[in-house]
């Protein structure tokens, strides 16, 4: 049998074509979530280390977290750390190595395509973050955390903005550096941000360091989540800083992201 080329000239495929877009994205997002959850190192950074940080901050008496109840200050900070772990560190490393091994190229030529892959990755990050919030938020509640109910919608808004910001920064990093460089820089930045206003409120840092921390996406996310969940307030400065980083990250990724190594 000889097929006729050309879309109008018929096809050798009797039942062909791509699966519907939503099905493709659902399939890829599910695959990404399963891969993330099966990755021990990723689970360590996404859940175990934030949980240890939460336990340590809640049960210890130092460092000082300010005037509020320790657990009410610590839990939003640890949730910010969880967002950074998944949306930035995990995404940057996974994308960096997928780029190295040609996975991005291969998926780009399947019906999923490049845009489908990006959307599926974002969905997978949000799903994993939801699981993190359940686990770490649950741990916080067990330890006595009392989030302000009216602040929860604000926290969701901040969380989505923070996720978009950190995913864009992760793609910028993963699309421009070699995989080993991505691994080193993403882990290093996770550690640096940990001490720059993510877990500890920026006002508890030495003055000059606090000013710097408030301008970092990690410090901004931490302050904005604490503002939402501790005081039910919209932390405009933090949102503004996140927005600026989002624009910078997205513009940089669009301009410099390379799909192959």
């Amino acid at each position: 049998m000889t097929g006729q080329p050309g879309s109008s000239a018929g096809s050798v495929t009797e039942v062909g074509g791509a699966a519907p877009p939503a099905a493709r994205i659902r399939a890829q997002a599910g695959h990404e979530v399963r891969t993330l959850l099966a990755n021990g190192e990723q689970l360590l950074v996404a859940v175990v280390l934030p949980a240890m940080a939460l336990l340590g901050l809640a049960l210890a008496h130092s460092p000082s977290l300010g005037t509020g109840r320790r657990i009410d200050v610590a839990t939003p900070g640890v949730l910010a750390l969880a967002v950074i772990s998944t949306a930035f560190t995990g995404q940057a490393i996974a994308t960096g190595f997928d780029r190295r091994y040609g996975v991005l190229r291969l998926l780009g030529v399947t019906p999923l395509g490049r845009s489908g892959l990006l959307v599926a990755r974002l969905v997978a990050v949000l799903v994993v973050e939801a699981l993190q919030v359940l686990l770490l938020g649950g741990l916080g509640l067990v330890l006595g955390w009392e989030p302000r109910a009216t602040g929860i919608p604000i926290a969701l808004l901040v969380g989505v903005l923070g996720t978009a910001t950190f995913v864009s920064l992760a793609l910028l990093l993963a699309g421009t550096l070699r995989a080993e460089g991505v691994l080193a820089v993403a882990n290093l930045l996770w550690v640096v941000m940990l001490g720059l206003g993510v877990v500890l409120p920026t006002e508890r840092l030495p003055h000059a360091l606090g000013v710097v921390a408030r301008l970092t996406p990690g410090g901004a996310l931490g302050d904005a989540l604490r503002g939402a969940l501790e005081h039910a307030t919209l932390h405009w400065a933090g949102l503004g800083v996140l927005l600026v980083w989002l624009v910078l990250g997205a513009a940089g990724a669009v301009r410099w992201f390379r799909w192959s190594d």
């Binding site: 097929g3 080329p5 050798v12 074509g17 890829q28 996975v103 190229r105 019906p111």
Partner: protein, 237 residues
């Protein structure tokens, strides 16, 4: 009848280097077309343009009548690609990965059939990172064919395979052409080209130096002799 794959006066430069310099060739449905050429002759650049992974500076590249750059998902579903580096996610297990890829297509899954023909079940529980080079080659080939493509681009499909696996792969490639697909195989193996291909395209210095049915290109001598006489300068570098 228009060809399933059509390349006309295609050009692509990287800085001062003319990777593809006015190449013209085509591949028909129901045929295996082998593309041969020295490293750096422009084969990969040309095939990447046809796969939608790269963009030409000028000229025409058409696959199933469509410009592959930014083509639709339905077009991509009709084109299977086996990349030289495999492109397989390192933490995935072969059959789970193929099942996932199959779910991106509307056509029913053929994972079982491919797993049987390419003997993938013997290492089904091993993640891609721990597979041997030959095992990865077979998974990558299955990934290219899982959507029953109308056009398949296979980059060195038997590199690193043992003789038994190589025969299996040749049988599979032939049966893909027999069901009507246009199969384009990039290879450095004259044996592979002679045993598998209906048509040969020889590329040198970014241009097509010979193309046509095997017997016509070989022109009375062996393909190997003809290849070196046509690409002598590149081969000697």
């Amino acid at each position: 009848m228009s060809a399933a794959v059509e390349v006309r006066d295609l050009r692509r430069s990287f800085g001062q280097v003319r990777a593809v310099d006015g190449a013209t060739w085509s591949a028909e449905s129901g045929c295996v077309t082998a593309v041969l050429g020295p490293n750096g002759a422009g084969k990969t650049t040309m095939i990447e343009i046809l796969e939608g992974l790269g963009r030409a500076d000028s000229g025409t590249a058409r696959v199933l009548g469509v410009d592959p750059w930014d083509a639709s998902a339905d077009h991509r579903a009709r084109v299977g690609v086996m990349l030289q580096d495999g492109g397989l996610p390192t933490r995935s297990k072969p059959l789970a990965l193929l099942g996932h890829l199959a779910s991106l297509y509307a056509a029913p899954s053929r994972v079982e059939e491919l797993a049987r023909r390419l003997d993938l079940t013997s290492f089904a529980g091993t993640i891609v990172r721990r597979l041997s080079g030959g095992q990865r080659q077979r998974v990558a080939l299955a990934a290219a064919l899982v959507g029953r493509p109308d056009v398949a681009f296979l980059d060195e499909p038997t590199a690193g395979l043992d003789p038994h696996a190589r025969l299996e792969v040749w049988d599979l490639v032939r049966s893909e052409a027999d069901r009507g697909a246009a199969v384009v195989v990039t290879t450095h193996s004259f044996e592979e080209a002679e045993r598998l291909a209906d048509r040969i395209v020889i590329v040198g210095k970014g241009q097509v130096v010979a193309s046509g049915p095997l017997a016509e290109v070989a022109a009375g001598s062996s393909l190997e002799e003809r290849y070196f006489s046509l690409t002598g300068r590149q081969a000697g570098r």
